[in-house]
């Protein structure tokens, strides 16, 4: 291996690592706030990328039907509760948000051929279609079980993953897609071609991480999420509804996922089930951070990206085996260093 290949692989590794880092952050956030180990995080990546690809191919992405179906379900669930409580005045906003807006989106997609839109608008529409799935999924699948054990929540999250994979196959088919690059610029560095898209991914991830930092440090909603993560009951007593915190962090998780998907769609071919492995690699990063520390999780994720990239050079068939076996020494190390005091959580 010469320096050129080393750099090329490093470039690949850092690009993927940046995406894994974003996902690792989302996973740590969701776990800290809701105790959900969100296996389905990666599905947002695939949905984001493939929704954009459908738009560019001039198709109406199936995601809009899922959005409509979930919105209607939520409207029915919450609407029934409102009617039972006699709070009729809250019904119109509920219907507008959960059914009206998705309908409007669907109508817009049929009225304006999406293939003709500029790229930024296509990205915007994709985000609009995918991000609301986060809070809707939280409302339908997780909120009724908010007080259940981590184990039950984990099983639910696996079930959600299963359903989303199946729906992904239904919406986007078994064919993979790759979207055109956002930028054609490239640089030369030490004899290696540095792609503009790569830089875009790294810079965008870095900006997003900085943005999240400010969100958590400076905004009232960010602080509310941090408070909920630290002490659920205490936060509730201070007037932060757990359901709001849950929806908020699932919105963030979905946004991070969809955005990551859109970022990497021009670099690698995404299939309906690609998200799962991508998400799990974010997970390995998150576990390195003990599902608690954001910076360590992000570093761990970059490490996973690099390891993956270099192992794909040496033993390409065993790439996945190597990446997922990495978790074993990590767990061993955590197990030997942590003094876990058994608490009763049920």
């Amino acid at each position: 291996m010469d320096l050129q290949i080393l750099l090329l692989l490093g470039q690949d590794g850092v690009t993927n690592g940046a995406i894994y880092a974003l996902l690792a952050l989302a996973l740590v956030l969701v776990f800290a706030v809701t105790r959900v180990i969100f296996i389905a995080q990666g599905e947002f990546v695939a949905y984001g990328a493939l929704t954009l690809a459908s738009l560019q191919a001039g198709l109406v992405p199936g995601t809009v039907w899922l959005l409509l179906a979930l919105g209607t379900t939520v409207a029915l669930l919450d609407g029934a509760q409102l009617v039972r409580d006699g709070r009729y005045r809250k019904l119109p906003p509920l219907l507008i948000f959960n059914v009206g807006l998705p309908l409007l989106l669907a109508a817009g997609l049929f009225a304006v051929p999406p293939a003709n839109l500029p790229l930024w608008a296509q990205v915007g529409v994709s985000m609009l279609l995918v991000v609301p799935l986060g809070p809707l999924i939280y409302r339908v699948a997780f909120q009724p079980l908010a007080s259940a054990s981590v184990l039950v929540l984990l099983i639910v999250s696996v079930a959600v993953h299963l359903a989303l994979i199946g729906l992904g196959l239904l919406f986007f088919g078994a064919e993979g897609s790759r979207t055109p690059a956002f930028t054609d610029i490239s640089f030369e560095l030490a004899g290696t071609l540095l792609q503009g898209q790569t830089i875009l991914v790294v810079v965008a991830s870095a900006l997003l991480i900085i943005g999240l930092y400010f969100f958590f440090e400076r905004t009232i909603y960010g602080k509310a999420l941090r408070a909920t993560a630290m002490n659920r009951t205490g936060a509730r007593l201070m007037g932060i509804p757990p359901a709001l915190a849950g929806k908020l962090c699932f919105t963030l998780a979905a946004a991070i996922g969809a955005f990551s998907g859109i970022l990497i769609a021009p670099i690698t071919t995404i299939y309906y089930d690609s998200g799962f492995l991508i998400g799990l690699k974010g997970f390995v990063g998150a576990i390195i951070g003990g599902l608690a520390s954001y910076p360590v999780a992000a570093l761990g994720a970059v490490l996973v990206g690099l390891l993956e990239s270099y192992s794909s050079f040496y033993a390409s068939a065993f790439k996945e085996v190597i990446v997922f076996t990495l978790i074993i020494p990590v767990l061993l190390w955590r197990s030997l260093t942590s003094r876990h005091v058994e608490e009763e959580d049920e």
Binding site: I37, I39, V140, A141, P144, L145, A148, S149, V150, L151, V152, L154, I155, V156, V158, A159, V160, H161, L162, A163, L164, I165, G166, L167, L169, L170, G173, A174, L277, L280, F283, V284, I287, L291, A317, F318, E320, V321, V323, F324, T325, I327, I328, L331, L332, R334, S335, S338, H340, E342, E344, D345, E346
Partner: protein, 586 residues
């Protein structure tokens, strides 16, 4: 006899099924059997033990690939490879369990997801295992000289294994080791204080579930005579868990029910969904995913409890167990020092809950620890019983320092306790709860329990538990679920459980709270009797009449510190004590 009827009908139907069912149905039943074996393991692991694994399919794969490779390329007999496969599975499971089970409960499922994925890719990429096309030409199993070549013949082998697995798990759960396993879900602290090694119990059930999966894999390989990586992927691992959850994760029969339902439903969905949706693909996972969420939200216990209601009810009244008495530890001579605590300090972060507290308890005395709420009495109890070790200071029990001891080490040496917040397993009967206390007085393990070789010891343990229950006056409630008793009675059950361990020192945390007057008198009488037998008793209690009438010596605590010590009438006159309890005179 009526209770056995449904089982007899089920076994009878199984026995004749291959004789008249079409080939297709027999194949389906074979698969249901194979899945049920794995799901039974998950019932033990998840339903009873509260742990879970998404990697069971990988263990199935380990069993299947071991036999596939060894029989085809090395000419091993399938019966030898069964045991080699089990040994390999056990090694992997022990290793995974060792590194994940010491941490929080969710590391095990995460570890098993990663392991499931990497093993799948390993099977698919290793040359000598045939890569993604797999291994063909696996020999048939021969039994008593006859080769089991057809699905109809193999059917019997599979279902005998299913029934044996169910029987073994049921036997196991109804035993000393079984009670320890059942305590894992929500009773870890209590079980440790009763001497159960809960870490070991967790590894044991993970190992058993993995071994069952491995056996299923061995059967699969010799039924199919062909293996490839697909059936051992993570999705299948998730489906196994789904079967157990839908069927009823707390019951072995739920595993069979779930395996049957899901397998048939999957078959049906795979036929219909592509037609409805107009494209091909495994769309049944959409239905499975949504159904799993609904089951967990609406009926977390699964479907088996629904069916259970249709079967003839089990009668609650059972016979009081009788058995020989268990050996007792030698009685301590009254007056010898059992427990000596010197300058015990306990900090929680910056909060000092106990500050340089010293006390002793002798054999044949009742020592009372009293003080206002929040004085740190229960914290002191946790330090003494090693449930939550002290930050500083020396604690010696029977002359031996307890530094570095786990709660179960202290329990083994003859200290037993009750908890201020009752820690009983509400679903289990009073008898079984009390029998957990006698855990250390038995020694029969998992294998003996599964094979029912533990019955003599089990009878002695249950008889001892029954004796203690009678002794505390709860004979009438012996077979009722512990959770159905009044709170005061539950505290008494805790005392019976502590006594079942044959302690020389008894730590009672507010035993009289919630008792009526007569019940308190009965309790005082019992404690008097125990003291006369030479037992040392350390008591935390708020009822002053109860304490002062019973205690030989009293230690008074306030704000984590000892403010007085002496005979009951001395401390009652102590100005500091009066101030702590009644407020000072300005």
């Amino acid at each position: 006899m009526m209770r056995r009827l449904p089982l007899a009908v089920f076994v009878g139907l199984l026995a004749v099924a291959p004789l008249f069912l079409p080939e297709f149905s027999v194949t389906l039943l074979n698969y249901i059997g194979l899945y049920a074996i794995v799901a039974v393991g998950l019932v033990l692991l998840t339903g009873v033990g509260g742990l879970t694994s998404f990697g069971q399919a990988a263990f199935v794969g380990l069993g299947a690939y071991t036999t596939a490779w060894l029989t085809t390329t090395h000419g091993f007999s399938p019966w030898a490879t069964l045991f080699i496969g089990l040994a390999i599975t056990a090694t992997v499971a022990l290793f995974l369990g060792f590194i994940t089970l010491r941490m929080g409960g969710h590391y095990l499922p995460l570890g098993t997801i990663a392991w499931g994925i990497s093993l799948y890719f390993l099977f698919g990429n290793v040359e000598f295992l045939g890569g993604h096309s797999g291994i063909t030409g696996i020999p048939a199993v021969s039994l008593f000289g006859a080769e089991l070549k057809s699905g109809r013949e193999f059917f019997y082998l599979i279902w005998i294994v299913v029934l044996l697995a169910m029987l073994a798990v049921r036997n196991l759960l109804d035993s000393r080791s079984g009670r320890a396993i059942r305590a894992l879900k929500g009773g870890v602290v209590m079980a440790e204080a009763m001497g159960v090694d809960t870490a070991r119990a967790k590894i044991v059930i993970f190992l058993l579930a993995a071994l069952l999966a491995s056996i299923s894999g061995w059967l699969y390989a010799h039924l199919q005579r062909f293996v490839n990586p697909t059936p051992f992927a993570l999705t299948q691992g998730i489906e196994y868990l789904f079967m157990a959850v839908v069927g009823g994760i707390g019951h072995v029969w739920g595993a069979v029910l779930g395996a049957g339902l899901i397998t048939i439903l999957k078959q049906w969905l795979q036929d219909w969904l592509p037609q409805i949706l107009g494209q091909s693909g495994n769309f049944e996972i959409i239905v499975f995913g949504i159904a799993m969420v609904l089951v967990l939200q609406k009926a977390r216990d699964g479907l088996w409890p629904v069916i259970l209601k249709l079967l003839p009810a089990r009668s609650l009244q059972r016979e009081v167990p009788v058995g020989e008495t268990l050996p007792k530890r030698p009685a301590t001579v009254a007056g010898t020092v059992l427990l000596e605590a010197v300058d015990v300090t306990k900090r929680f972060g910056g909060l000092v809950a106990n500050n340089k507290l010293s006390l002793t308890v002798q054999a044949g005395e009742v020592m009372a620890l009293i003080g206002p709420n929040g004085a740190g009495k229960s914290t002191m109890f946790n330090c003494l019983s090693a449930v939550n070790p002290a930050s500083e200071g020396k604690i010696a029990f029977l002359g031996q320092s307890t530094a570095g001891f786990a709660a179960r080490d202290v329990a083994r040496r003859g200290m037993s306790r009750t908890f201020q917040h009752v820690r009983l397993l509400g679903q289990m009967s009073v008898l079984e709860n009390v029998a957990i206390g006698a855990h250390l007085r038995g020694c029969r393990g998992v294998l003996a329990s599964a094979l029912r070789l533990d019955r003599a010891e089990e009878a002695r343990l249950l008889a001892e538990a029954a004796r203690q229950i009678e002794r505390v006056g709860l004979k009438e409630q012996m077979f009722e679920p512990a959770g159905s008793l009044a709170l005061g009675q539950q505290r008494i059950v805790e005392i019976a459980r502590a006594l079942a361990s044959d302690p020389c020192l008894l730590l009672l945390d507010e035993p009289a709270a919630g008792l009526r007057y007569l019940e308190k008198q009965a309790l005082a009488e019992l404690l008097n009797k125990l003291r006369a037998e030479g037992m040392g008793i350390l008591l935390v209690e708020h009822d002053m009449d109860f304490v002062m009438g019973l205690a030989d010596r009293v230690v008074v605590m306030e704000f984590g510190e000892k403010i007085a010590e002496g005979k009951p009438d001395e401390v009652q006159r102590d100005p500091k004590v009066l101030e702590a309890y009644l407020g000072g005179v300005e």
